[in-house]
C-alpha cells in the first residue's frame, strides 16, 4: 500500500490528481469493454507492479510513428510507463546503447526473459531476396524476427505496417514486405492504425497484466474492444449522413457546419477502429473532427484499395 500511496503522491506532484487518474482508468476500462468493477484493479496495475513486465520492441520497415504515438501517451505518461510500469528492455529509438551494446542488450534480454516478455513489433518485414531489403547490423529483419518472436509470451504488431504490411507493402512492393503474422506464419495480435492510438496498446497490455491473457480478437487478429465497430457506426457526424447532409467541398459552409464527409471520400464505413470514441492526444481530436475524411489507415491494403482518397467509395 505504501507503494500505492507513493504512486499517487508522485502523480499529485506532477499535477495529476488521483481523481484524474481514476478517470483515465475508467476511460481505459470502457475502451477495453470491461465492467467498471475493474477500475480499481487497473489502477493497481499501474500503481504497484511486483516486477515490471519486460517489453522487447523491434523496429523493422517503418517510420517510427507508432513509437512516437506511444511517446504521446498521457495517464499513464510515458515516463511512468518506462520507469515504473513496464521494463522496456530494447527499443532502438529511446534506448541509450547503440551498435554492439544494443545488440548485446537484445540477446541478453531475450535470454533472460525467454517465454516471458511481450514482443512489440513496429514495421513490416521484407521477404524477397532473403529479406535483404531490411537489415540491422548485417542481419535481416526476417532473421531477427524469426529468432525473437517465437520466444515471446505474446507478439503484438503495432501499426498497419506490422499488422498488414502497410505502406512498404503497397504495390509494387519491390522488397516483398509483409506484416509480421504473414512473414513468420504466426498468429500475432494486430493493432493497426497509422499510427494506432496508444490507448489501444496500453489497453492490450493492461488486459494481459490484469487477466493474464490477451483480449479477444477478430479474424484479422484485432482486439474487439478497439476494432469491433466501424468508424461510421461510431461517428458523431452519423446523423448528418442519415439526414443526407454532406460536405461537397472543403472549406465550404457545409464543412464549417460539420456535415458528413462521405462524398469527399470518407472510408469510415469500411474501417474498423475506435478513433471517434477514443480520439487522439488526450482526447483532443481525430481526423474527421479536423474536417478530413477517414482514409482507412488501419485497414489491410488501405493504400492500394482505398485510393484515390478524395473520391467517394
Amino acid at each position: 500500500m505504501g507503494q500505492e500511496r507513493d504512486f499517487y503522491e508522485r502523480l499529485e506532484r506532477k499535477g495529476v490528481s488521483r481523481r484524474d487518474f481514476m478517470k483515465y482508468c475508467t476511460l481505459l476500462t470502457a475502451t477495453m469493454g470491461l465492467s467498471s468493477s475493474f477500475v480499481p484493479k487497473i489502477a493497481d496495475v499501474f500503481a504497484s507492479p511486483a516486477q515490471r513486465p519486460p517489453v522487447i520492441w523491434l523496429h523493422f520497415g517503418e517510420c517510427t510513428g507508432c513509437s512516437e504515438g506511444l511517446l504521446r501517451s498521457m495517464y499513464p505518461f510515458i515516463d511512468e510507463l518506462v520507469l515504473e510500469v513496464l521494463s522496456v528492455e530494447y527499443h532502438e529509438t529511446i534506448m541509450v546503447a547503440a551498435g554492439h551494446q544494443a545488440e548485446e542488450q537484445l540477446h541478453a534480454s531475450v535470454k533472460k526473459y525467454d517465454g516471458k516478455f511481450i514482443c512489440v513489433v513496429e514495421g513490416s518485414i521484407p521477404t524477397k531476396y532473403n529479406g535483404g531489403y531490411g537489415k540491422i547490423g548485417g542481419r535481416s529483419f526476417l532473421d531477427i524476427a524469426k529468432e525473437v518472436c517465437p520466444k515471446a509470451a505474446a507478439v503484438i504488431s503495432i501499426g498497419t505496417c506490422a499488422s498488414f504490411g502497410g505502406i512498404p507493402a503497397a504495390a509494387p512492393n519491390p522488397g516483398g514486405y509483409k506484416g509480421v503474422g504473414d512473414a513468420l506464419g504466426i498468429k500475432a495480435l494486430n493493432l493497426p492504425g497509422c499510427p494506432p492510438n496508444p490507448i489501444n496498446l496500453v489497453g492490450t497490455i493492461v488486459n494481459y497484466l490484469l487477466l493474464g491473457k490477451l483480449p479477444d480478437l477478430d479474424e484479422l487478429g484485432r482486439p474487439y474492444f478497439a476494432y469491433g465497430k466501424t468508424i461510421h457506426d461510431q461517428c458523431p457526424r452519423r446523423g448528418h449522413f442519415e439526414n443526407e447532409e454532406f460536405v461537397e467541398e472543403f472549406g465550404s459552409e457545409e464543412a464549417a457546419l460539420g456535415y458528413c464527409l462521405y462524398n469527399v471520400g470518407c472510408r469510415g464505413p469500411e474501417t474498423y477502429n475506435n478513433c471517434p470514441t477514443a480520439k487522439f492526444n488526450d482526447g483532443t481530436s481525430w481526423p474527421v473532427e479536423a474536417g478530413h475524411p477517414c482514409i482507412g489507415c488501419s485497414e489491410p491494403k488501405f493504400w492500394d484499395n482505398f485510393t484515390p482518397f478524395y473520391e467517394e467509395m
Binding site: R72, E89, Q101, Y133, F250, N281, W286, P287, G291
Partner: protein, 477 residues
Amino acid sequence: MRAVDNAVGVKIPKNARIIRNLLMGAQFQHDHLVHFYHLHALDWVDIVSALKADPKKAAALSDNVSNAKVGGAAYFKQVQQRLQTFVDSGQLGPFANAYWGHSAYKLPPEANLMASAHYIEALRLQSKSARMHAVFGGKNPHPQSLVVGGVTCVKDLSPDRIAEFLYLTKETQEFIKNVYIPDLLAVASFYKDWGAIGGTTNFMAWGEFPQNDEEPESLYMPRGVIKNRDVGKVMMADQDKVTEDVTRAWYEDGPALHPYEGETKPVQEDPKYRPGDGKYSWFKAPRYDGEPCEVGPLARVLVAYGKGHKDIKPVVDSVLKQLGVPVTALFSTLGRTAARGIETIAIGDQVQNWTMDLIENLKNGDTSTYEPYEMPDSAMGVGLNDVPRGSLSHYLHIEDGKIRNYQYVVPSTWNLGPRDAKGKLGPVEEALIGTPVADPKQPLEVLRTVHSFDPCVACGVHVIDPDSNQVYKVKAI
C-alpha cells in the same frame, strides 16, 4: 502538398497559409525539444553519475542557470530517489548496457542530475505539446488536415480551439526558454572542444514559413546556399541545380539526374556492403551544383545569420558570447546542436505572432480556408520546404491524368547520403573524419556527431581500427 499546389496552380487562402505555418512551427517546437532531451542529451549526460549528486548543489546549479518552474533540493532529491529505485530494481530498461562512466562524459554529478530531471520533465511536456497538432490537424503524429488547396480544419477556427493552441504553444515556449536553452548552454560549456569537431563545408536551406504569397522573399527562415563556409556570401538556392547520384547507392546505375527526371530502381538482389568502390547505401547522394550540402538547423541558422536576420543574428551572437567561442565554432557538432536551440527560440516566438495574425484575419471577416482547383491532365510541380530535420523537396510530374513520376529528396538523404561518382563524401561522412574516439569498443563520440544531425534513419556507422581491421558497428537511431 506544396508540389501538388504548385502543379495545379492553386493559391491557398491566407488562413490556410497561417494554419500550415502553425502546424509546421509547432513541429519545430516539439521535434527539437524531443531531439535535444531524448535523442541526443544522453550522449553528453551521464544519468548514472546523477545518483552521486548532492541534491542541494544541483538545486543551486539549477537556480543559477535556469528559470525552470520546478526545482529546489527536495525536488532533485525526489528525482534522484526515483532514479535510484529504478536502478535498484535491476531492470534498467532503455538505459541498460550504455556508456555510463565513459571518459568522454565531462559533466559533474549535479549537472547530470539537473539534466536527467529535465529529461523526465521534457518527456512529459512533449506529450502535451503534441496536442498543438491535434487541435488543427486531428492527431499527432501524422496530422491529417492538409489538402491540396488549403486545409480542412475550418470548424476548428473557433475561439476555444485557437485559445487551446495558443496556451499549448506558450507553455511549450516557456519550457524552451527557461529550461531547454539554459540546459543547452550549461551542458555546452563543458564541451567547448566539440566546437572544433564534426563540421562540414557546404550548407543549403530551402527556407520555411511564407509570410505572404511571395516566395522566397517572404520566408521567415530564408532560402540560401553557403559554399566553403563563406557565411558572408549567401547565394540564392535554386532547385534546378539539384541532382541525385546513385553510383554508390543500391539502385540501378545511371547518370546523376534532376529529381524531375529521377529514377528509383532498387537493385533486384540481396544488397551487400561492398568495400572499395562498390555500393553501400540505400540513400542516393543529393548534390547542389555538384556539391554535397549539409541541411538542417545549422544550415538554416547560418543562412539566416549570413543574411543578417533580425531575430536569429542577435541570438547567435549572444550564444557565442555566453560560451566564449568564435563564429567558426558554429561549424561543428556543438554548433549544430546549438543552432537547433537557437532556431527553436525564434520560430517558437513566431508561432505566437502567427496565431495573432490568424485571429486578426478572422476578425476582419476572412474565413476562407480552401481554394478549389481543377486537376490538369498534365503538369509539373515542385514543393520546397524546410522541416525540422532540414531541406525537403517534392517533385511531381502528371501526365494523362496520372502520376508519371514522383520523387522527393529528404533531409536525411542530403546529410547521410553516400559518396558520389567523383568520390565526394556525404556531409555526415565528412563530419566524422577526425573524431577522437577514446575507446573504439564504446564509440560514444561518433554517436554525438551522428545524433547531432537528427538522422531520420537507423544508420550503420562502422568504426574500423586500421591496425587490426577490427570492425565495430555502431547503430545510431
